[in-house]
Symmetry: C2
Subunit: 99 residues, 2 copies
């Protein structure tokens, strides 16, 4: 059991982070507003989890202007994708233990 | 995505709690020392997560003496088992989305 738990990544413990990473596995780049809508979160709550993932090096941020409007979008880094795949593999081991 | 995230149970966000519940799905009753050993945790860390699960009504505690030694053990409640199964089902949906 310890071997499985150790392979679960602390950075992805929170279900909002699982959601953010899942979305970024199938969408190359997602902006703040789209995340908010898809996950139904407040600005503050979403920003906290995005910042945490960014600090781990799992997300990269792009700030640009679309016309005159500022737009902030996010993509998973290669490290983030690898780490998330490993986390999902550990979850799968846990599920198999419980079936 | 929101539908899946909403079905993930906040009480099981932390990987230590996933470990505790997993152990209690296959072992009817587990004592504190066995958890410590299986999950390789400090007393304080383990106690924090056990208390949290107990407050949710997912664990029940039994205190007894084995000979002259006090022994504290834990079992998953029916509510805890149901909640954990629902959490695992939501994790499975998330995994399927990412495959």
């Amino acid at each position: 059991m310890k071997e499985i738990i150790d392979k679960l990544n602390k950075a992805f413990d929170h279900r909002v982070r699982l959601g953010i990473m899942s979305i970024l596995m199938v969408n190359e780049r997602v902006d703040f507003g789209t995340f908010k809508e898809m996950l139904d979160l407040t600005d503050g709550n979403l920003a906290t989890h995005i910042t945490a993932l960014e600090k781990h090096g799992y997300l990269e941020v792009q700030k640009q202007f679309i016309g005159k409007k500022p737009n902030t979008s996010y993509a998973a880094t290669p490290e983030g994708k690898t780490a998330f795949h490993e986390h999902l593999a550990a979850l799968e081991s846990l599920l198999n233990k419980n079936q």
